[in-house]
């Protein structure tokens, strides 16, 4: 056992670090540092820079434009990205639908969809959940009826993140109810958001911003060639994707960065106050979180090492999701603690770079902390709630 990077890995780290220092746009960095929401254009601009470098699709096979990196290289990259405070790639296209398309899609589908995902030309969203089907996803009702040359799709998807910015949605739909197991009647369908009959309605979340939507489908005609894989196999494809989602969801590198920032900020005098790090309670809580996070980091590394020798990320990825989101939320809460009263002003117009600093109520990091804390209560709910993850571990790891 050995914790050190090899000489090549160290060199790779230097290369990645230099890239972020040189290429990550300053204006986007300023927004990220201030906790200001990025626009679609910000994301696209940044993702295209990664694309140009050949680093957009970390996990894809090289033949489709992936990096072919080792587990350690990916780990290094994630860390450097977090240290630069660069935003994660929007996952729906690059990390979710693309693996399904290159694994189960036809050659025509790969040619049609992958290049635009890779180059961030097309923006995707995920249409799984429905009003009546959250944790019990297999109960989903949105119906797709096959005719000679297309499916007719009717129903409602909900909680669809960024659907209002998306060009495409990948959906789990019901193509049959006449099956032994309800999972067997589910298919994986790609739908152009511009098709007549698709409407998107906002859902405002707890902190007051628009991030999720309800997407209605009324007799939407979807060409048959937009079916991925076989009809009735959508559940299997979807589950593969969910497991990818779960390893990406732990967010260890970013949590590490945030804790470092909290430590730095607490060591200084904010608003002429005593540095909070001198407060024993605060210092102890910081250390406790550091310890928990280190443990999770090495749990993730152990999982990745297993994947590297050919084991698929199995139910263990649920552990990463549970602990990862718990720690994210603990850090969210810790930032609110750091902010004190300054966590409480709610002034949407000041969450913009152009807003004059002298007119701001409190520092950006402080007044954004509560909104981030509120919003991120979602982390233990989405991607399969933490309760559902624990059910998976009970069943598939413990055999209960």
């Amino acid at each position: 056992m050995n914790v050190d990077f090899s000489a090549e890995e160290l060199q790779f780290q230097e290369q990645v670090r230099a890239f972020f220092a040189a290429k990550f746009p300053q204006d986007i960095k300023q927004k990220c540092d201030g906790g200001i929401a990025l626009t679609r254009e910000d994301y696209v601009r940044w993702q295209k820079i990664l694309f140009k470098q050949g680093w957009a699709a970390i996990n894809w096979p090289t033949e489709y434009g992936g990096t072919g990196w080792t587990v350690i290289q990916k780990y290094i990259f994630a860390n450097e990205m977090a240290q630069a405070n660069a935003p994660d790639i929007i996952p729906f296209g690059m990390k979710m639908v693309a693996p399904v398309i290159y694994t189960y899609g036809t050659a025509a589908q790969r040619d049609r969809f992958l290049p635009d995902i890779l180059a961030s030309n097309a923006w995707w969203c995920q249409g799984y959940s429905e009003p009546g089907s959250g944790s019990d996803l297999a109960s989903l009702k949105m119906k797709a009826t096959r005719t000679v040359d297309h499916y007719v799709v009717s129903g409602t998807k909900t909680w669809t993140t960024l659907a209002h910015m998306a060009d495409w949605i990948f959906c789990l739909v019901r193509t049959s109810s006449d099956v032994a197991r309800r999972q067997q009647g589910i298919s994986f369908l790609l739908v152009d958001m511009n098709t007549p009959g698709v409407t998107v309605k906002p859902i405002i979340t707890i902190e007051g911003e628009r991030e999720v939507n309800e997407v209605h489908f009324e007799d939407v005609k979807v060409p048959l060639e937009n079916l991925v894989g076989e009809e009735g196999k959508g559940w299997t494809y979807g589950k593969v994707l969910l497991q990818h989602e779960r390893t990406n969801i732990a967010g260890v590198a970013r949590s590490k960065y945030r804790l470092q920032q909290i430590g730095k900020r607490a060591a200084t005098s904010v608003n002429d106050a005593q540095p909070l790090i001198n407060d024993q309670n605060f210092a102890r809580r910081l250390s406790a979180l550091e310890i928990e996070l280190r443990a999770l980091e090495y749990t993730e590394l152990r999982t990745l090492a297993a994947v590297a020798v050919g084991k698929a990320p199995g139910p263990e990825s649920s552990i990463l999701k549970v602990r990862g989101t718990e720690l994210q939320q603990a850090i969210d809460e810790f930032e609110v603690t750091l902010a004190g009263y300054f966590a409480l002003p709610y002034v949407p117009k000041q969450y913009a770079l152009e807003f004059p600093e002298s007119e701001r109520i409190g520092h950006l990091a402080d007044t954004r902390s509560s909104l981030i804390y509120f919003n991120n209560r979602k982390a233990s709910i989405y991607g399969g709630s933490n309760e559902i993850q624990k059910n998976i571990v009970s069943k598939h790891v413990l055999g209960l």
Binding site: S129, G132, S133, G134, S135, D136, S139, T158, W159, I203, I204, T205, I206, E207, G208, V212, N271, D272, A273, Q274, D279, N281, F282, V336, T337, G340, Y341, F342, A343, L344, P345, Y346, V347, E359, I361, G362, S370, L371, Y373, F374, N375, R377, K378, S380, I381, Y382, S385, N386, E387, K390, N391
Partner: protein
Amino acid sequence: MDFSISEEQSMLSDSIAKFIENDYDFETRQKIAAGDLGYSADLWATYAELGWTAVLFEEKDGGLDGGPIELMLMMQQFGKGLLVEPFLANIVLAGGALRRSPDSELRSKWLAKIIDGSLQASLAFTEPQARFAVNDITTTAESAGDSYKLDGVKSFVLNGGIADLLVIPARTAGGQSDEDGITLFAVPADSVGVSRRSYKTVDAQQAAEISLKGVVVNQENVLGKVGDGLAILQATIDEATFAVCAEAVGIIRTMHDKTVEYTKNRLQFGVPIGSFQALQHRMVETLIACEQSQSLLYWSAMINAGNDSAARKSVSALKYQIGTAGVHVAKEAVQLHGGMGVTWELDIAHYFKRLTAISILFGDADFHLDRHVQFSKQSVA
């Protein structure tokens, strides 16, 4: 020992419950909160008509002589209804500082107007550098003949943007954290040199940052003895801390009840999610947290009449409980609602935000656990 409340007390509590039921459903609350003022001036007049603004004041001042039990009953109801009117800021904080001050003509005039609902007042209880230390005050009051000149910045002044009268603690002597040398001034908000930046808060309250530049205040606007203001200030903050804890108990009880109800009705896997044992045990835990919080609240309410160090210690115990167990109940309520729990549309999210704000107000759990330790050390010393 007697846990029962009097008929009058129960009528007071019922009158608020009825008001919420008839005039203050969640939709109404959201509309009021979204308005420019941030609360309903009309309904504030109703608060006064129904006598709620008078409860805490002494009879000689035109009040109803209520104490901690009445305050507790009212705040619990306000919590359940998620009311946004500035009862805490105007009545408990500013009114509290005034009512604890010695008689004067001005004081009587202000109290009468606060009670009849025609005056909004604020207590500027914190400064940017102070975090939760009530005695950390850098605003200065320089004596100049028979008046004072105030300079400094007050942050997070609840109700501060619309208040007509500001109660400002300032230093007439001593260093930044000294307990002596703090004096309370009642400053008309339209005085020259007062500037205010108002804003709303995440929990649908309104507050302001107030800067004072050479604000001239007359001698007669000094509340109590010069240099001796901390006692009044601290007693007022302690009562306000107790008040928000009572509000929090109303909030977490409501969140718990709504969650149990929701899990009975939300079907997944063909059954109500409340039938899953994993969730049942979680709700039993939140019930325990609610009961424990309620118990500490009653204990503190009963002990509080003394207003001595035991009473103050009980407030810290209660605030710690709300900052830990209370926060836990709120998180669980959101989690068990699934995606619905994080929507603006559902009241659960807004209870969550108010509870979060309360967990910070007047000191978080760490702060009050420390204060509790200090009281314990004093009592064995």
